[in-house]
Amino acid sequence: MRKVLLYITILTTGLIFIGRLFYLQVVDTSLAIRSRDNAIKVIYDYPQRGYIYDRNGDLMVSNQPSYDVMVIPRNLKPFDTTEFCNILSIERKDLEKKLDKARIYSPMLPSVIIPQLTKSEYAILQEKMRKYEGFYIQKRSLRDYQVDHSANVLGYIAEVNQATINDNPYYISGDLIGRAGVEAYYEELLRGVKGVKYIQKDRFNRDIGPYKDGIYDTLPEKGKDISLTIDAQLQEYGTRLMENKRGGIVAIEPESGEILALITAPNYDPAKLVGRKRSPNFTELYYDTIARPLYDRGLLAEYPPGSPFKTLNALIGLQEGIVDTDDKFSCNHGYAYGRGRKLGCHAHRSPLDMIPGIANSCNAYFCNVYRRIIEKYPSPQEGIDAWNAHLKSFGLGDFLGSDFYTGKPGKIPDSDYYNQIYDYPTYKWYATATLSNAIGQGEVLMTPIQLANMAATIGNKGWYYTPHILKEIEGKPIKEEKFTKKNYTTIEERHFEPVIEGMHEVYKSGTASTLRIPGIEIAGKTGTAENFTKIDGKRVQLTDHSIFVAFAPVDNPKIAIAVFVENGYWGSRYAGRMASLMIEKYLKGTITRTDMEEWILSHSLEEEYAKPLSGEPFKINQ
């Protein structure tokens, strides 16, 4: 015992030590991570975010320096808080709260006290800064908007949230990230790549040189400048036309699928979401649940397309071979079907064949065509699905695939949909049950961008490029296959001629004959869509939506456009006028019909929008 005691003690100690070392060094990896945290400082070098230009090279978005007032609580010395608060125009209480928060976060690490001072605010502070030990100024780069429109297209940038940080290791707390529109979709292009420097720190948090002589350090890569397909002048003009109205305008260049204008109303000045006022401004926009300025109607609003949809039924009818351009259908103020039911129509001469049918937007004509399409097949299910397949080839009833993170598929019903609604096979349903599809009402829903793309596709006689917003990266045209490959519809080219002629006739003699522009041949189609809302649980009809689609010039379309004005009544009243003005603005650069322009600019629909909220009975379609 006396001889072995020390042996045992020594060996036991050795074993315990090695066990403990094994635990610390091999098993417990959290210690290794903590070492990295406190010994290595990572400094990021943020590159300039890429500029955004319009299709003509006009600058839309650049950058501006902004200045954050930072604090390192440990370095604070007593200072004149009253003066400090005055300079920065903040409450003393708020300052104390922020300092406490910073202290709790870390006494040694910097915290933001006041974010995003402008240059002039910074100028005042700059000369006094030396008096406030512990505070310093961190320069950042913020967006500088050269335009006061297009907020829906451009999107905005904001600090990353925790969810993004968790998902994407590139971002750290405090980084800025694109949050909507182009800023979000092309975030990786625009942001560039931040540079990284690893700095070895000592226990006082002082820098003592680059870690491993900087072998892991990287240089920042500047964000790419991009050009959008947007025409900033057209965009601005459309925004002005849309003032005091709600709705969307989408203009597309048919031969390229480039989005020339994407307007939603109401919108907001993108500069509102920059700087110190960002947060209250955002809250205000976000909680405006009536006008919904953050809601991009051009991309997201699903409306019944109304009469413009008739052109598609005409095309399908021709392709299916169930109608000829000379087939005439009579209209007796509507289309009677079933047991005394009737789908009404307005007064026009009768009977009509296809071209005047389109020009006069005859409901009865298209009910006949639609029934023939569906009834060509042995069952209405097969008929609906054949019809559905044609429409799908126009990019309807599904997401278009544009370069936006937001979008809506719209709705094109199929047999499953009606089977479910009518509880098939317990109950049977027939073409007449779906008859409102003939005139773009009922179950059919489309977004303005789908409408515009439809116009472009008709203008192209059967194909389209997926509408997109990005034109060039650093001056080089995009090569993305999705946007440079033609999508063909199921309709043969030859069938488009009569439909286009019908749409041209709309301008020459039909529902839009008052909207002609001297020197420009336009093909278009008016639309008027019934719509409803719920007031106290009751379904209440509101004034019709005013819809218009068009493309011009007819024989070589340069612009296809869809205009949607909520509760604007009939198609040519608001939407048609706007579409004409937009086309003239884009093709000619000047407006010859200033009276029409004046009418649009001076008319407001605010009264109309207030009706369902007033709580009082109201009349519609006045």
Partner: protein
Amino acid sequence: MSRNSAGFDWISIFIYLILICFGWANIYSASLGTNTGSFFDLSQPYGKQALFIGLSIFLIIIILSIEAKFYQRFSSIIYLISLLSLAGLFVFGKTISGATSWYSFGSFGIQPSEFAKFATALALAKYLSDIQTNIRQLSHQVKAFIIIAIPALLIVPQPDPGSALVYAAFFFPLYREGLSGFYLVTGLSAVAVFILTLLVGPYWVSGVVLLIGLFLFFRKRKKRPGRILITLFAIISIGLSFSVNYIFENVFEQRHRDRFNIVLGKEVDSRGIGYNTNQSEIAIGSGGWLGKGWTEGTQTKGHFVPEQHTDYIFSTVGEEWGFLGSGMVVLLFVLLLIRLLQLAERQRNQFTRIYGYSVIGILFIHFLVNIGMVIGIFPTVGIPLPFFSYGGSGLWGFTILLFIFIKLDSDRLSY
């Protein structure tokens, strides 16, 4: 060399050299600033340590050249000189970081407590090996205890309780030479009661003591310590438990309590008193299997661990050499201690054996307390890691301690 010389134990010398060299490499890394100067820059700890190592070699040659009998013969005088130098500190001592443990010569200092260890070992060996000493006699036990206690008591008020704690190492030679196991049982019981009291409080401890006491009391065995002794033991244990609790709560200062609480895992305060241990654990833990490489330790470079080139040098080993390196150092110490035990046990001369056991005991206590502290399983007690920690006095003290034994061992055939 005399004709009776059996030669020096090269295994021990070899391990010693590895430890010294590896130690210096780590001191170099731990004290390396941002400016890399010459290896022998005397303004830097690593430069000074290089000089100390050089002087150690010189010392070794002298120690091994002197005749072995000299150490036995002059042990009393060496002991006396050592006591005087410790006492002299009260008059001439220089205070460095709060402890008056130094004689100052220009930019160098001598720390006599480092030399008192081998002197005490020599004196104890001399006394115990005396033909007239019988360690089983109480009066002789008291005398031996006095020899050990005087230097310890001179060191405590410096204050340097860590160095004083080292004198517990002399229990090993005493026990080896026949000190009753009673002291061992008593000592260990006291430690157990102490720690358990701090962990679970005196009431639980009392309960456990009573249960064990009752079990022993009623166990039917003939040759057992009497029931009176058991009862006495139980009463003392319970009394100790309550008094420890009282002392801990009322006599100890908060900083003392903190040190214990951190090791016992009762408190975690990584910014205050727990900082040293926490940082040292982080440094070691960040080393992983193979470490970050020599002079590449980020914690070491950032000087996050306080006293890293002295008491916390082992954390540098852990960070830069990983589990492989730190495990190897532990293994080298174990090997050295085991080898020295073998040497001690092969002695026919009682003096050499007792001295050897003292050497092993002292090295072991340093090894235990220092590494135990650095890896967070022992309270913070400031004593160096032999051959590793920066410091001339320490290095020379340990070198002399070890090489006198190697010299004595080489002379074993003359008995």
